[in-house]
Subunit: 297 residues, 2 copies
């Protein structure tokens, strides 16, 4: 299949692209002129988008992709006043332009990426931050396109993710550095539940979704959302213990030295539906051991 | 009170501003550099927005408005590919910038304007067109602001409106021109239900809402939406008869000569809640007679 992917410079998309290329698919990545394509699988074809809608449509008509996987987004845990325009451009306008080009070039399916943070306090919709609000807003826009065109639009909602090649300043990288540098770290009280999934499981959610969309030709998901959620949800404090066990190290954390942040998610959304047939295959202890081996090796 | 208003060059805002100025309020209108301020009530103060978020916040801090009435929007019944950016900038980004400035300057209330077209086929959400989708998207962005700040945000959803000074190419203006020029017009079969309200009733919905927001200080609407809906909903064909009666003329319409448009709204949304205490005061026959007198005079 020919698949157009966005967000190819990000952690999840890089792994997904590698898998799809290994499976023999033709991958077209939409990037920006300043994008760093280092680490994106060999064989990926690139299109540099400069914001021109007609040029984007011409490109879609040329490639004639079977489907689109939209992983690009601007993530900001908290925004500043000057971030508004770029948050909307990245998380709403770009996706709208993709849907316009997709529907006008008769693309059959479109996988969008959402976030558990659209569901603060487990509500049907309550955004943790402006980032999550822009994700919801894009789904609203998408509804216009899938109601008025023959395109199968679905959203996969992700929470925390981890794995080899993840350079984001997230908890496992933080802890690995602590141990390496023999540091002590002040953290929140640590009672917030963490729902984190290993990259291979995330990638499988997308590849499974693709096969449903490809094979269930007469089935319309009508904008349905699916989630990737761990079967090992646990408080951050307990996750630290798993990490210690996997790495055979001790974390010097002063729990409670810092406050929880504003709108800290204490219990992540648990009302999502997994992609049909998806099951967590990699468990935390093994994944962290694997991660450590690959990172050190 | 000091009130900031957007969309002041539009039909509804012009009438509303005149009423609010007559009531003694201080009106600050946000316009663009190319806006034509002709016909906006004397005494209105203007601020030219050039897209700078910090300048907008400085302006809010200077004015210290009690509330904001957001009527600006880009309306397009059908969009073209090149319209996407301007639809999003006008209907999502501008409102988001207003909410950012409002919450940062401790504005107490914000009245947003939505459309019945967010409810195609009477659904909780199904946009008739991309315009309506951007309206919904903005409400979802707004949720972030009213969930995380002490601001009372409400939406008033409008359907058709008419009255003196309305220069839009809508049905009554069309029919008046037909009669004046003794023309014959081909129209759709005419069975679509029309829900159209007279401008004075629309203005009253806003002034009533303002008084609720001002007086019910401890009450939070939490993003509630209210509607302005006519008690005289009727098929377009029947509306033509009322128009003929009011104007003592004959309309030469060939019903059925044109098809309905894509996603023609046959039955407008009827699940809205009117603003508390609001009742239609001007009835169609009288309003059209008044309109004709004032237009000819």
């Amino acid at each position: 299949m020919k698949i157009i992917i966005t967000g190819s410079t990000g952690f999840v998309a890089k792994s997904l692209i590698q898998t799809l290329i290994n499976e023999g698919h033709e991958i077209h990545a939409i990037i920006r002129s300043h994008s760093n394509t280092e680490g994106i699988a060999d064989g990926t074809k690139f299109y540099v988008d400069n914001g021109d809608n007609q040029a984007l449509l011409d490109y879609f008509n040329l490639v004639k992709p079977n489907g689109v996987i939209h992983l690009a987004s601007l993530f900001l845990a908290q925004h500043n006043t000057e971030d508004i325009q770029s948050l909307i451009t990245s998380n709403i306008t770009f996706g709208t332009r993709l849907l316009e080009a997709s529907t006008k070039s008769y693309v059959k399916w479109f996988i969008n990426t959402g976030t558990f943070w659209q569901h603060y306090e487990n509500e049907a919709y309550n955004p943790v931050n402006l980032y999550a609000a822009t994700k919801q807003a894009f789904q609203d826009i998408a509804k216009f396109y899938y109601e008025t065109n023959d395109i199968n639009f679905v959203t996969i909602k992700l929470n925390d993710t981890f794995g080899e090649g993840d350079t984001r300043k997230k908890v496992f990288n933080l802890w690995q550095n602590m141990i390496k540098n023999n540091e002590t770290l002040g953290m929140s009280p640590g009672d917030q539940i963490i729902d984190i999934s290993y990259i291979d499981d995330i990638v499988e959610a997308y590849t499974l979704m693709i096969s449903h969309l490809k094979n269930d030709k007469n089935f319309s998901y009508k904008g349905d959302a699916f989630s990737v959620s761990s079967s090992e949800r646990m408080p951050l404090k307990d996750l630290a213990k798993v990490f210690e066990e996997a790495t055979k190290s001790t974390l010097n954390i002063n729990w409670g030295e810092r406050p929880y942040r504003d709108r800290e998610v204490m219990i992540p959304w648990d009302k999502g539906h997994p992609v049909l047939g998806w099951k967590q295959k990699t468990f935390l202890l093994n994944a962290i051991i694997k991660l450590k081996e690959n990172t050190n090796g």
